[in-house]
């Protein structure tokens, strides 16, 4: 029997996440054949088999986080007969030592709890923080045989009791992959930047009329023309006039970086989560060019084929949640940018013009900005300018390059 233990493939890593099994239990593998793919904080590595033989047992599933040194799978090498006694499961790794993160181990030591006595409810039977707390509470309640179940019993008991805990059922999904990246990034943005959100509405009739007039022309060129390119144009013009909105703060050097390039990120919803493809040099592109690029980028985003270059380097982000619905929002800025504009649902609304109630096509927009750099008045002037340009597309036309 050859046990394959997770090696430290990334220079000083402690754990890795199983991202893919390339074989199944019972499969025959040859020496140096890739068996499992592991993602660490440094590399994504295919781990190859040290021997030729049959993969007898795999101890972890895709998505499990495994500590360095834990046995991932066992191979019955070719030519080595399975001995009878070995048929009894050869010391499964989690029996050798309970699985837990260093944090939980530390906690267990402080609470004087032996991890091997605790039934783990985490992935692959891993002992998690709540298991320790529950264990300690049960222990406090008194050492009756009932509330000191052995590990295996506790597991089956937990499984059968769970559905009866009405109203308190929960599911634990490991935070990983893109979702984890999003979580980390948003935490960083929200922690560093003092956010303020300012909301305004704009009248879309004029720009809609304009769009409808050139839509056929765009169709002929096979370009899907939405309102977004008009917004991008108006935003870029406004950004040039209010340079602090197209900037970032370099915390290390204590400098404000005003950017003279206009890379506009478009928050895009994909199956895996939110991705922000970036339109580079948006100020130098025509409305139709922008429309074509938006279609292409959102297609690539949904196919998961964007390159790193296509999702980085943005200077300002637009979050177009309008098609889904909603009145207003407090979007979180895409750090190190300093502002983000959310566009909401466009709908006919009753508004007052010349002291009369009329119906107009209205849309709300919410601008979150970094209050360290941008004063409230500047932010309002910025959205006022966008509003002015879009409500009077002739002005927009005059400013186009």
């Amino acid at each position: 029997m050859v046990e394959f233990k997770l090696p430290d493939v990334g220079e000083g890593m402690h754990e890795g996440e199983i991202t893919r099994w390339l074989v199944k239990e019972g499969d025959f593998v040859t020496r140096d054949q890739p068996v499992v793919e592991v993602q660490t904080d440094k590399v994504n590595a295919e781990l190859t088999s040290p021997a030729t033989g049959v993969v007898n047992k795999m101890f972890f599933a895709v998505g499990d986080t495994v500590e360095v040194g834990a046995t991932l799978y066992v191979i019955q090498p070719e030519g080595e007969e399975e001995k009878k006694p070995a048929a009894v499961p050869p010391a499964a790794p989690r029996q050798a030592r309970a699985l837990a993160t260093p944090y939980v181990r530390q906690m267990a030591r402080e609470m004087s709890i032996d991890l091997d006595d605790v039934a783990g409810t985490g992935p692959a039977g891993r002992v998690v923080e709540s298991d320790l707390i529950q264990y300690a509470e049960r222990k406090k309640a008194g050492p009756t045989p009932d509330n000191r179940p052995k590990e295996q019993e506790a597991k089956t008991e937990a499984a059968s009791v769970k559905p009866l805990l009405l109203g308190e059922s929960e599911e634990r999904i490991p935070l990983k992959g893109i979702r984890k990246k999003i979580a980390e990034h948003l935490t960083k943005s929200a922690t560093i930047i003092p956010h303020v959100t300012h909301v305004d509405e704009l009248e879309m009739d004029a720009v809609k009329e304009w769009r409808d007039r050139i839509k056929e022309y765009a169709d002929r060129k096979n370009i899907k023309l939405t309102f977004l390119p008009f917004f991008i144009k108006a935003i870029v013009i406004a950004l040039k006039e209010f340079p602090t909105l197209n900037a970032s703060i370099d915390d290390e050097t204590n400098e404000i970086v005003l950017k003279h390039y206009y890379h506009i990120g478009i928050a895009t919803d994909t199956e895996d989560g939110l991705i922000v493809p970036v339109i580079k040099h948006a100020d130098q592109k025509t409305i139709l060019e922008l429309a074509a690029e938006i279609s292409q980028l959102s297609f690539l985003a949904r196919e998961g084929k964007l390159t790193l270059d296509q999702i980085s380097g943005g200077t300002f982000t637009i979050s177009n949640v309008g098609p889904i619905g909603g009145l207003q929002a407090t979007p979180i800025i895409n750090h190190p940018e300093v502002a983000i504009l959310a566009l909401h649902k466009m709908e006919p609304r009753m508004v007052v013009r010349n002291w009369e109630g009329v119906i107009r096509l209205m849309m709300n927009m919410s601008l979150s900005f970094d209050h360290r750099l941008i004063d409230g008045v500047t932010a309002v002037r910025f959205t006022n300018r966008i509003k002015e340009l879009l409500e009077n597309p002739n002005l927009l036309f005059a400013e186009l390059r």
């Binding site: 394959f4 233990k5 997770l6 090696p7 430290d8 493939v9 990334g10 220079e11 140096d32 440094k42 590399v43 994504n44 590595a45 295919e46 781990l47 190859t48 088999s49 040290p50 260093p102 181990r105 390159t307 790193l308």
Partner: protein, 372 residues
């Protein structure tokens, strides 16, 4: 020195730097010029055989690292022609200063495979080279070996020995001070040093154009008045012929040569690096493999000359795999590496301060630190 006036003055934009590179064997496996008997059929086969061996060795090493049987490893697949070609151009007694990625060169110059396995398993014995060979331990600090290579070449010259020194380094090393110091010194003393740069385009993650405004690395030789040659680093003939000429020049007393071999590593910087984070790894790697692979190119020529067939290759592969396995077994039979060994070969005789450090290190490990 002459003077020139305004109307003879060249404009600032006028430049004479060329980015062209020397090639002998085209990507399609055709000879672009006659070899004049400098490379015969048996040498061609030998070149191919060596490239095949080191490629297998390299792949095996990555696998061993991925199985936890070896520490971090720096793969060189893609750079075989540069390393094998340059090493074959040397005489057995020439000094070699490899980096951590130049095992192919070291193997061709006479290093045993098991020593290289040992090196990456953490054994100091991995740095020992066979008796009579002058292969220095792989240099991990960047560019420091270049000045050493100038030193040994200068010493050889003063002793009247007919030996040259070759320093291997990457494009990243050319931004270090040691690179310039070495070139300057070698130029002044006309030492028989070959500065062999494998420009694989990336200093770990930094592409060359972000590293330097120089168009080429070879052009920097001009500043020290030594020849700077740019060759196709995936063309083993071009590399071999240029290095050979540089060695002969050096031994004639004409001084050092800087050779820039343009190549590409297919894989990561090391097994602890993920190239997808800084370049379009799949596309780039595939493009180089398909268009410029050093082995495929030579294989085409060998096939055209009727001296290669698949059966021969299979035979070689079987022999080589067996050879690699034997060396691996030998390396894995070594007792586990002892960390205090790292103090042992700093000086011929250990001074008191190093001994003190060794003792301190030993008592640290004696405490049997348990890492949970």
């Amino acid at each position: 020195m002459m003077v020139y006036s305004e109307n003879q003055r060249k404009s600032f934009d006028e430049t004479t730097i060329s980015a062209d590179m020397y090639q002998v064997l085209s990507e399609q496996g055709d000879l672009l010029s006659s070899l004049d008997g400098k490379i015969d059929d048996s040498l061609m086969l030998h070149m191919y055989e060596k490239m095949l061996l080191v490629r297998l060795f390299d792949r095996k090493s990555v696998n061993l690292q991925r199985q936890g049987r070896m520490g971090t490893y720096a793969p060189f697949e893609g750079q075989e022609a540069s390393q094998v070609g340059s090493a074959l151009a040397l005489s057995p007694g020439d000094w070699m200063f490899p980096t951590y990625r130049d095992h192919a060169a070291a193997i061709v110059h006479g290093q045993d495979l098991y020593r290289i396995f040992l090196y990456w398993m953490g054994h100091v014995e991995g740095s020992i080279c066979p008796e009579g060979k002058r292969i220095m331990p792989p240099c991990v600090p960047i560019a420091t070996q270049m000045v050493h290579a100038v030193g040994t070449a200068w010493a050889s010259k003063r002793k009247g020995e007919k030996t040259a020194s070759i320093a291997y380094f990457g494009d990243g090393a050319t931004s270090e001070g040691d690179f310039h110091e070495a070139l300057n010194f070698a130029g002044v003393f006309k030492t028989p040093t070959i500065f062999f740069c494998q420009n694989n385009g990336y200093a770990i993650s930094v592409p060359f154009e972000k590293q330097s405004a120089s168009k080429t690395i070879a052009q920097r030789a001009a500043a020290y008045d030594i020849p700077g040659i740019r060759v196709d680093g995936n063309d083993i003939f071009a590399v071999y012929l240029m290095v050979k000429e540089a060695v002969e020049r050096g031994l004639r007393g004409e001084g050092p040569t800087l050779i820039e071999a343009i190549t590409f590593r297919y894989g990561a910087h090391t097994t602890a690096d993920d190239p997808k984070k800084y370049r379009d790894q799949e596309t780039l790697s595939q493009e180089w493999r398909e268009k410029r692979d050093p082995l495929a190119r030579l294989q085409k020529l060998l096939q055209k000359r009727g001296i290669w067939n698949e059966k021969l290759e299979e035979q070689w592969l079987a022999q080589m795999n067996e050879q690699i396995d034997l060396h691996l077994e030998k390396a894995e039979r070594y007792p586990k590496a002892d960390p205090v060994g790292m103090f042992e070969h700093v000086y011929a005789e250990m001074p008191w301060n190093i001994r003190e450090q060794q003792e301190e290190c030993r008592s640290f490990f004696k405490k049997d630190v348990k890492i949970s």
